[in-house]
Amino acid sequence: MSYVKGLICKECRRSYPKRPLYVCEYCFGPLEVEYDYGRIKRILTKKEIIKRSKNMWRYWELLPIDKYPIVGLYTGFTPLFRAKNLEKALGVRELYIKDDSVNHPTLSFKDRVVAVALSKAKEFGFDTVACASTGNLANSTASQAAEAKFRCFIFIPADLELSKIVGTLIYNPILVAVEGNYDQVNRLCSEIATKYKWAFVNINIRPYYAEGSKTFAYEIVEQLQWHAPKHIVVPCAGGSLITKIWKGLKEFYKLGLIDKLDTKIYAAQAQGCAPIVNAVKENSEIIKPVKPNTIAKSLAIGNPADGVYAVSTVRESGGWAESASDEEIVEAIKLLAQTEGIFTETAGGVTLGVAKKLIKRGFIPKDESIVLCITGQGLKTQEAISSKIGSFIKIKPNISSFEENVIKKIRR
């Protein structure tokens, strides 16, 4: 059973069959999955959705799979919670965290897209999957490929954080560290994908893969009792997540699952890699690529594939874009941990760092509902903060050493 009609070029609207294709043969525009919303509307009601298991597949009619999914069966439906302490710290009235730092199985939002990509790769009959990754995608692809018994090639920039390398190697894929930045890894993978007939999740399977991100938006709406928030701040690397969050909201509106579509979407990037933010601020139609230099390695894409769509999402929704410096990113990671007890990775620091600025400068009003998208886990990027969080107090195993070194010295 499937509600997918086929693929369609986002630029020139030419139609293509459901195959592992990703660019339009004529204009090179990206291909996108097209659904039969009329039929979906008859089936996918609130009543129907709430009966289903709490994972991303409860919205399966809006995902591009034709058969039962084979991986990621427990992915999604991560917590969305009111961040009372952070509200106080930022001086806002209604703030929520959507927390994919605890997503299953590899602790980032990428588990959503990989679950769709690998299920689709199996449907297409591939035996090998691959990806170009800044880390989180590597972890998720390697993990889910192991479960689904695919041969797996992972390509990463050679300077990746240790935890992201260990968190990939444990699944025993063929891990290739490319001497270069992510954009170079990505270019190389595009060339490899032309030559080797593998399922590259974020290249030839990309139209299907990217759809998985919509579930992040569906869940936000459902968890807010079927209301979309007024403001959503989204971290941007390739620009796909922000584009799909907007698409997800528009679909829910089209299906009558929300009454209005008045959410403003904000793009968050690191100052050392902000091509999307730059284009928004300069009101530019094109994305000028940059050479990334930031501690937020998971967002270090200087040549974002969905950059133009990320920019149009911001414009269409009436949002804005901002960047955070490395220092602001670290401060925000600490703030989230010390107010809400959530340890996020650098991308989460970017989101909160940018939200802080947007609130302070009045771009986001203080009295309306705000959702921050926390997409990854702090334990994976310890290098970014380990020298900036103090250290332990070492003592001898007796009470006098404890009192001498701890009680007398702490000032709290």
Partner: protein
């Protein structure tokens, strides 16, 4: 003066399924003109009606994105390698 050009999948029908072809030109603009002579129809696919490179195509000279060089004016020399790659990938 021969330059090696890697052709993306959507254009390989025009190059008789060849992934790698040779062409000439002192810069990217001339290279595209030369490709058009060898594989008629290819220019229309790479460039829009105004002759500008389509926005979903990236071109690399010896692995560097021409947007960091001089765009269509980026100079080429014998032995250079050019890759034409769809922009939509990754992330």
């Amino acid at each position: 003066m021969a330059i090696k050009v890697r052709i993306p999948q959507p254009l390989q029908k025009l190059t008789k399924e060849k992934v790698e072809v040779e062409a000439k030109g002192r810069n990217i603009q001339e290279l595209i003109e030369d490709l058009e002579k060898r594989f008629p129809g290819i220019k229309m696919r790479l460039c829009d009606e105004k002759g500008k490179l389509r926005r979903f195509i990236n071109i690399y000279v010896n692995e560097e994105d021409i947007r960091f060089l001089k765009m269509e004016k980026t100079t080429l020399k014998d032995g250079d390698e050019v890759s034409i790659i769809p922009a939509i990938a990754g992330g």
